[in-house]
C-alpha cells in the first residue's frame, strides 16, 4: 500500500535580518493511512514549520519552501493551484492547532464556524450543514449541541474549544489530521480527555494523524512511529518502541535520559543535555548537535550525517556514531 503522505527532501527557509534561517533542512518521512506519527522536538527544531509546509501555510515573505516534494494521496501538493490547495486544507487534511482561542474566530458562533467549512467544502445547504454540525458535536463528546452551536468561543472552556477544533477538523471526512501541540495549553486531566478522544476518533474513522509535540510521554502513549527533530533535520525516526528503548542518535538518547519520570522514585540527579540549543542563523556544514554531543569526532564537523538505517527495519538515525551508541544502550538494556 502506498503511503498516504510522502515528504521528500523538504526545505523551508526564512529570510530574516540576521540572514537566511533554514528552519526545515531537507526532511523526508511518510505517513501511512490510519497511522499516528509523532514529530517530537524542542522549540526551534522545525517541527511546526515542517507541518505547516505540508499545508503550504508558510507566509511568503519571509518564508519559502525552496526544495522538496510533498505527495499526498498520489498528488504533488507543491504543484496544486491556490484554489485546489484550499480544497485540500480543511477538506482532505484537517488541522488542529495549539491555541484554540486564536484559531477559532471570536466573532462567529461555533455553529457558523462548523457549517462554513461544510458549505465551502461539501456544498451543503444551511439545513444539512446544521444537521451535520449537531452530529459532529456529539462525536466529539459535547452534549446539548443546539445550545452550544449558538455560543461564541469566549463562552467555552479551553478543553471545549479544542473539541470544537477537532469537530471542524473532522467535518469533511479528512484522510489526515495534522495536530500541532493540540493539548499543550490544556490542563493534565483535560489533555488526557482530548488525546483519548483524538485517538478513539482517528482509529474509528481510520484517519491518519500527525501529532507534533514536545511531550515525550504523549508520544509514548499515542504514536505508532516517531520522528525526532533537531535544528531543522530529522535525526532519528522509527517505531516508537524501538526509538525509546534503543535510541541510535545521541540527542534522542540524551533527551530521554533528561526527563524525570512519574513512575520512578526520586533519583539523585537528572542527566541533562548540556549546552544551549543551536542558533539556526549560525549553523555550519557539520552536525548541528556536535557542540552538545559526547560522541562527537572530527568527522562530525565536516559533513552532516544523513538519515540511514540503524537497528531494526524502519529505524533510521542520522549519526556517524550510531554503532557506538547502539553498543552503549545495548549494554545498559
Amino acid at each position: 500500500m502506498p503511503p498516504l503522505l510522502e515528504v521528500k527532501g523538504l526545505r523551508t527557509e526564512f529570510r530574516t535580518g540576521a540572514g537566511i534561517v533554514r528552519a526545515v533542512d531537507g526532511i523526508s518521512y511518510t505517513v501511512d493511512p490510519g497511522e499516528t506519527v509523532a514529530i517530537v522536538g524542542e522549540s526551534g527544531s522545525g517541527k511546526s514549520v515542517g507541518a505547516l509546509s505540508v499545508l503550504r501555510l508558510i507566509p511568503d515573505p519571509p518564508g519559502r519552501i525552496t526544495q522538496g516534494e510533498i505527495l499526498f494521496a498520489g498528488r504533488d501538493i507543491m504543484r496544486l493551484s491556490g484554489s485546489e490547495m484550499r480544497e485540500v486544507r480543511g477538506g482532505e487534511i484537517g488541522m488542529v492547532f495549539q491555541e484554540p482561542m486564536t484559531s477559532l474566530n471570536p466573532v462567529l458562533s461555533i455553529g457558523r464556524q462548523i457549517t462554513e467549512t461544510l458549505e465551502q467544502h461539501r456544498g451543503m445547504d444551511a439545513a444539512a450543514a446544521r444537521k451535520r454540525a449537531v452530529e459532529l458535536l456529539g462525536l466529539v463528546g459535547i452534549s446539548d449541541a443546539s445550545r452550544r452551536l449558538k455560543q461564541y468561543p469566549h463562552q467555552l472552556s479551553g478543553g471545549m474549544r479544542q473539541r470544537i477544533m477537532i469537530a471542524i477538523a473532522l467535518s469533511c471526512d479528512p484522510k489526515l489530521i495534522i495536530a500541532d501541540e493540540p493539548t499543550t495549553a490544556l490542563d493534565v486531566t483535560i489533555q488526557a480527555q482530548i488525546l483519548e478522544l483524538m485517538k478513539d476518533l482517528t482509529r474509528r474513522l481510520n484517519v491518519a494523524l500527525i501529532i507534533i509535540t514536545h511531550n515525550l510521554g504523549v508520544v509514548a502513549r499515542y504514536a505508532n512511529r516517531v520522528n525526532v527533530m533537531y535544528a531543522g533535520r530529522i535525526v532519528e525516526s522509527g517505531p516508537a518502541g524501538d526509538v525509546y528503548h534503543n535510541p541510535r542518535h545521541p540527542y534522542t538518547m540524551a533527551l530521554l535520559r533528561s526527563v524525570p519520570r512519574l513512575d520512578r522514585p526520586r533519583q539523585e540527579r537528572l542527566d541533562p543535555v548540556e549546552g544551549q540549543p543551536p542558533d539556526l542563523t549560525r549553523l555550519d556544514g557539520g552536525c548541528a548537535f556536535r557542540p552538545r554531543c559526547r560522541f562527537a569526532t572530527d568527522a562530525c564537523a565536516e559533513s552532516k550525517p544523513s538519515l540511514l538505517p540503524a537497528g531494526v527495519a524502519g529505524h533510521l538515525a542520522a549519526c556517524f556514531q550510531s554503532g557506538a551508541i547502539a553498543r552503549e544502550t545495548g549494554e545498559a538494556a
Binding site: 478543553g159 490542563d187 510521554g217 513512575d263 537528572l270 543535555v273 544551549q276
Partner: protein, 329 residues
C-alpha cells in the same frame, strides 16, 4: 515548641476570596471567587514542598499570599513563628529579604530595558545591603557564576539570552538577598525539555549550597516527583491530599490525585501499552460557585450521596499521609 522543631512556614485556615463587582460608579458586590478556601500546611527548614494542581486550583494565589503580594481574606501565615498575614507594608520590607520568588516566564519577569547586571544589583541597592558600587558589581558577578552563567552576561540585555539563560538570571535575582525561603512558581514550566533538566539540577544544587527551603508550585507532576520531599495536591481552592512524595505518587488515595496521576503519560511506550486508562470526566467547576459538599463530587467515580452535603476535612489516614475524602478508609 522550640525553634528547631518548629516549621519555617505554617499556613493555617488560609482563605483568599476575590470580590466580583458590577456597576461603574456604584460598585456593587455580586459574588466572590474563592481562590483559596481554607488550607493548612507547613514547610520545614531545608525541605521542598510541592504544590500541584490544575489551573484555577489556587496554587499560585497561595504562593502570592505567602509572599504577601496579596492580603489574605482570613487565616494565619506563620513565618519563623511570626504571623505575617496581617503585616503592613513597612514591616514587610524585612520579610522580603527572607522570602523570594522565581516566576514562570523568564520573558516577562525581567525588565527588557535593564542590563542583567542592573537587574541583579537593584535588590541589593534597594535593601541597602551593599552601598559600594564596586562591591555590588562583584556580588553580581558572583551570583551569575553561582547560577552557571558567565559573569560577562552582566553587560547583556535579557533579549540577548535564551530562555534557559534568562531563567538562570531570574534565579540569581531571587538569591541576591540571601533569602531562606523561595517560592518557585512554575519555575521550569516554560523551558524546553533539555534545558529544564539543567535548571532543576541548579535548583537542587542551590538548595544544598545555601540551605534553602522551597515551595515548588507546578503542574508538571514528573518534575515535582523528582524535586520535592512532600507534596500537596490542590483542587478548587482546597488541599485534597498531602503526603511524602514517594508515598503520594506510589500510593495515591484521593480519587482526584489518582485521576491526575493516571492522566500523565510516561515516556515509555512499553509501560504505556500496558496501562489501562479512562480519563476523569468533566471539567473543573467555577470557583465562583463551587459544588456543595466535597468540591470534587461531580467528577468523582467514588462519590456517594453524602459527598454532596458535607465537606470532608483533611485527616491523617496513616502517619504523615493526609486525605480529604470521606470514602478513603
Amino acid at each position: 515548641m522550640n525553634a528547631a522543631g518548629r516549621p519555617l512556614l505554617e499556613v493555617k485556615g488560609l482563605r483568599m476570596h476575590f470580590p466580583i463587582t458590577e456597576g461603574l460608579v456604584a460598585r456593587k458586590l455580586v459574588g466572590e471567587v474563592k481562590a483559596i478556601d481554607g488550607i493548612d500546611f507547613a514547610v520545614h527548614r531545608g525541605e521542598t514542598l510541592g504544590l500541584v494542581g490544575e489551573s484555577g486550583c489556587g496554587k499560585t494565589t497561595t504562593g502570592r499570599c505567602i509572599l504577601r503580594l496579596e492580603r489574605p481574606t482570613a487565616g494565619e501565615i506563620y513565618y519563623d513563628g511570626v504571623d505575617i498575614a496581617r503585616m503592613e507594608r513597612k514591616e514587610l520590607r524585612g520579610l522580603r529579604r527572607r522570602i523570594q520568588v522565581i516566576f514562570q516566564d523568564p520573558y516577562s519577569s525581567l525588565n527588557p530595558r535593564m542590563k542583567v547586571g542592573d537587574i541583579l544589583a537593584e535588590p541589593i541597592k534597594v535593601h541597602g545591603i551593599e552601598p559600594d558600587a564596586a562591591k555590588r558589581s562583584a556580588r553580581v558577578r558572583e551570583l551569575l557564576s553561582v547560577c552557571g552563567l558567565n559573569p560577562r552576561f552582566a553587560d547583556r540585555y535579557p533579549h540577548e539570552m535564551s530562555g534557559g539563560q534568562r531563567q538562570r538570571v531570574g534565579i540569581a535575582r531571587a538569591l541576591a538577598l540571601n533569602p531562606e525561603f523561595i517560592v518557585c512558581d512554575e519555575a521550569v514550566s516554560a523551558l524546553d525539555v533539555s534545558i529544564q533538566a539543567q535548571v532543576v539540577n541548579l535548583l537542587e544544587d542551590l538548595r544544598e549550597q545555601f540551605g534553602l527551603t522551597y515551595l515548588f508550585i507546578a503542574h508538571d507532576l514528573s518534575v515535582v516527583r523528582h524535586l520535592c520531599q512532600r507534596v500537596a495536591v490542590m483542587y478548587l481552592g482546597r488541599i485534597v491530599e498531602l503526603a511524602d512524595g514517594d508515598e503520594l505518587f506510589g500510593n495515591p488515595l484521593h480519587p482526584y490525585t489518582q485521576a491526575l496521576l493516571a492522566a500523565v503519560p510516561v515516556p515509555d511506550p512499553t509501560v504505556e501499552a500496558h496501562r489501562t486508562f479512562r480519563p476523569v470526566q468533566g471539567e473543573v467547576p467555577s470557583p465562583i460557585n463551587p459544588p456543595s459538599g466535597c468540591v470534587f463530587h461531580p467528577r468523582c467515580p467514588m462519590a456517594v450521596e453524602g459527598c454532596k452535603h458535607s465537606r470532608p476535612e483533611l485527616r491523617e489516614v496513616r502517619p504523615g499521609h493526609f486525605v480529604a475524602c470521606s470514602e478513603v478508609r
